[in-house]
Amino acid sequence: MTRFRTIAHATLAAGALACSAGAPADLTDAERAEITAAVEASVDGYREAALSRNLDGLLALWANVDGFVLAADGEIADYAAMETGLRAEMATIQSVPYFELSDRHTYVLARDAASHTTRYRWSAVLTTGDTLRVRGSWVYVLKNFDGAWRVVHSGGAHVPE
């Protein structure tokens, strides 16, 4: 049953993409490059916001829309849970010494949709003075909302460094 559901979801998703305006085949290389650059710039904005502990900047990456999910370390959160958690977490962090992205891959799904996968490593100094370090990989699915690329689905894992 689970296998059937997975296949059915994949078929529906493929159908939705095929019907979407600006499906990959319709895009020129230049358009793909432009979308890729915009998506990476959006994720870079998140990195910059983390480094400066700018909560508004961090929230700007996430789309407050129905269907938003963030999956990490075995848990799935909706937008409200993500925002509440992020606000509380930032209050425990005193500074972010580094936040690095590498091995980045953008896959353009449509004129207004793309996925972005990256490795990351970052460090946080807590209000207790402890410095914690972590690395991992993360996948973002982004949609373009009036020119702003925001994440609607996201998932990843944290590995102690």
């Binding site: 502990r53 509380a88 500074s95 207790t128 370090r133």
Partner: protein, 176 residues
């Protein structure tokens, strides 16, 4: 009566940029002493909480939650053997979280996060608005410490146990 100020969610080089030492200098007339970099101050001169809060709001370049405790609360807290029988390890940090106000409802103690299995964060004691606990030094501590806000239903800010003992030392027994 000495007071202790703890600011929530400030940092030393980011969006909410401020320099604790500069603020302490601005509050010199109150005998302010800066403790560390997270926004922790001992106020040694007599001042009402209301007046102190108003002055902090006026001087801080951003809005933030301001927790104010009596110095004797901290001195009393660190004088008690909250961690008897608890493991001592380089991978475990002992902390105190200060709540912005008394919670209407609070979970029973001791509590641990996650609720089952090995703990990542453990709260072992509470004295009024002060929570005493320990966490394993790993990245999950950030999200788990953040969960304490929701579990107690009030904003709180967390400091190292050593910061509290430093505060007590600055205050001295006769200062409170």
């Amino acid at each position: 009566m000495a007071l202790v100020v703890l600011l929530r969610g400030v940092n030393v080089g980011g969006h909410r940029t401020f320099r604790p030492a500069v603020l302490a200098a601005q509050l010199q007339h109150l005998g302010a002493v800066n403790i560390g970099a997270a926004g922790t101050f001992v106020i040694r001169q007599p001042v009402s909480r209301t007046a102190l809060r108003a002055e902090l709001v006026r001087r801080l370049p951003f809005e933030t939650e301001i927790m104010i405790c009596e110095g004797r609360e901290i001195v009393r807290l660190v004088s008690r053997p909250h961690f008897v029988g608890q493991p001592v390890s380089r991978d475990i940090t002992r902390f105190v979280s200060v709540m912005a106000r008394r919670p209407k409802e609070a979970p029973a103690l001791p509590l641990q996060i996650p609720a089952t299995g090995p703990w990542d964060v453990q709260v072992v004691a509470r004295e009024d608005r002060l929570l005493v606990g320990q966490y394993r030094r790993q990245m999950k501590a950030i999200s788990h410490l953040g969960m304490l806000d929701r579990m107690f239903g009030v904003p709180l800010t967390t400091r190292n146990w050593n910061t509290m003992t430093t505060i007590a030392r600055v205050l001295g027994a006769d200062a409170v």
